[in-house]
Structures are given as structure tokens and as C-alpha cells.
Chain length 166, copies 2
């Protein structure tokens, strides 16, 4: 079997050269990060997060409503005490509407698929900094999230720099 990325060969190299040994289950820095699935973001590298230090939740846009289940598990079962929400410039979520993606699905997968998609909010957004503030607020306001520091950031795809969102 071949894959677009040679996971097995790369992983054999990692086992020999990069694996730090078995770490404990709870994140050693007690941190939870919510970020975007974007291919251009390697959170471990860009923020200097070591193996074992932080939970890393990622989805399209880094939306915290969808991350809620994971954040609750992170806090309740694994003792994390600080949350960071990170969105980024040039995000795909800034480029489409729910109507756009439903129409693309209708073309690719047919009318019945488009009807299924009609029930899904794909959570696009139009204003980057506002989306970060909203997602921080969503977690702060949730009755399921502990009263811990929750911070918002933007990662700049252009130069690799993070900046705090106030």
C-alpha cells in the first residue's frame, strides 16, 4: 500500500531519532490549545510545545463550539488549567458561505447529500479578530468550562508570528 505521505518510513525514523519515551497521560503544562486544521500550521513547532505538554484540538477554523466536548474532557479528566484559542490569517473559513459549500456538495455528491449538508453549519466567519473574540467568549460563557484563563491569538501565515487578540 502506498500513501501520499510515506508515514511508515517517516515513522520508523521518528522511532529511532525523535521518540522521547513514554510520557504520562495528563499534559505536563496543563494547557489546552484550540487551533485550525490548516496545513500550514504546526502548533508544536510554531509555539514551542513539547511532546506531552498540551492537548491540541484542531478543526476547520479552530472553532470552540465544536471543540467544547474535548475541552471539557481535557479539564475534567486530565486537569488542564489554561486554554488558548488560535485562529490565523488567510484562513479558508474566510472564503465561503454555507450556501457556497452546499452548492459545491450538490454538484459533487448530488441532491440528497446537499440536503444532508443543509442541516450543517460549516461555521465560516467574515472577521478574523472577531472570530477569535467570539470563540474565547463562547468558552468563558459555557457552564461546562472551568473558570480558568482563556486567551485568544492570531497566527500570521505570512511570517509565522503570533499576536494576542484583545
Amino acid at each position: 500500500m502506498t500513501y501520499a505521505i510515506n508515514f511508515e518510513a517517516n515513522n520508523a525514523k521518528f522511532q529511532k531519532e525523535g521518540f522521547p519515551g513514554k510520557q504520562p497521560l495528563p499534559p505536563s503544562k496543563h494547557v489546552t490549545i484550540v487551533s485550525c486544521m490548516d496545513a500550514r500550521i504546526d502548533v508544536h513547532k510554531a509555539l514551542g510545545v513539547g511532546i506531552g505538554e498540551a492537548h491540541l484540538i484542531q478543526n476547520a477554523g479552530g472553532r470552540s463550539a465544536e471543540a467544547l466536548r474535548s475541552v471539557v474532557i481535557s479539564q475534567q479528566l486530565l486537569g488542564t488549567k489554561e486554554v488558548h484559542v488560535i485562529h490565523h490569517t488567510d484562513c479558508g473559513m474566510l472564503t465561503f458561505s454555507n450556501a457556497d459549500i452546499r452548492s459545491k456538495i450538490e454538484k459533487d455528491l448530488g441532491t440528497s447529500a446537499a440536503n444532508v449538508a443543509g442541516a450543517i453549519d460549516f461555521l465560516p466567519f467574515a472577521d478574523l479578530d472577531k472570530s477569535v473574540r467570539e470563540d474565547v467568549k463562547f468558552l468563558k460563557d459555557s457552564p461546562l468550562v472551568l473558570d480558568v484563563p482563556i486567551h485568544g491569538w492570531v497566527y500570521q501565515i505570512e511570517d509565522g508570528k503570533i499576536r494576542k487578540v484583545k
Copy 2:
């Protein structure tokens, strides 16, 4: 402001020494990975995934039902053509039930929070390989997912090795 991990200092170093320049938005290897938020997994390192190559979706357990919105965006808007679902040994999701976490929430956050949590399936599982097969099947069966290769893997926390799930 101080944080448990010094993101700003680490990021300044990354900008100077690790940032590869701005990459295109669509993943260059056309790959989508669904994995767990576990702190001990650095997918980029463990599988040799470079910046810009693959979408990386992560949540508690690496559950594909929750990843569906992101997978659809990845395929429909950004042209990915291969999906990999990766769960791992020693996963927190093997250690609790919905009743357990609801009872913990009641203790920490009160009865009204526990009632809100009562509506959430936290998606724990009891059998690791079965959970991978189920999550691969979920995507294969979804009317919203393209007919592309979808593979299942287990990452071994003990030795850093991946193995294919059949």
C-alpha cells in the same frame, strides 16, 4: 502576561529558525488526518508531515463523527483526496463513561452544568481497534464524504510506532 508555555519567546525563535515562508492554502500532499488531542502525539513529527502538506483535525479520541464538518471542508474547498484516522494506545477515551464525566461535572460545576452535559455524548470507547474501524466506516458511509482512500491506524504511545488497522 505569563503563560504555562512561553508561546511568545518560543514563537520568536520559530520565526527566525523554523518558519519555511508562506505556503499555499491547499495541502500540497492532498491529505487529511484525523487524530486525538492527546498531549503525547505530535503528528507532524511522528508521521513526518511537513508544514503545508496535510490538514490535521484533532479532538478527544480522534472521533470522525465530530470531524465530519472539517473533512467535508477539506475535501470540497481544498481538494484533499486521502483520509487517515489515527487513534492511540493508553487513550483517555478508554478510561471513562458518559456517566462518569457527568458526575465529575456535577461535583465541579453544579447540577445545572451536569444537566447541560447530560445532552452531550462524550464519545468514549472500550475497544481501541474497533473504534478505529468504526470511525473509518463512519466516513466511508457518509453521503458527504468523497469516494477516496480512507485508512485507519493506531499510534503506540509506548514506543512511538504506528500500525495499520485492518
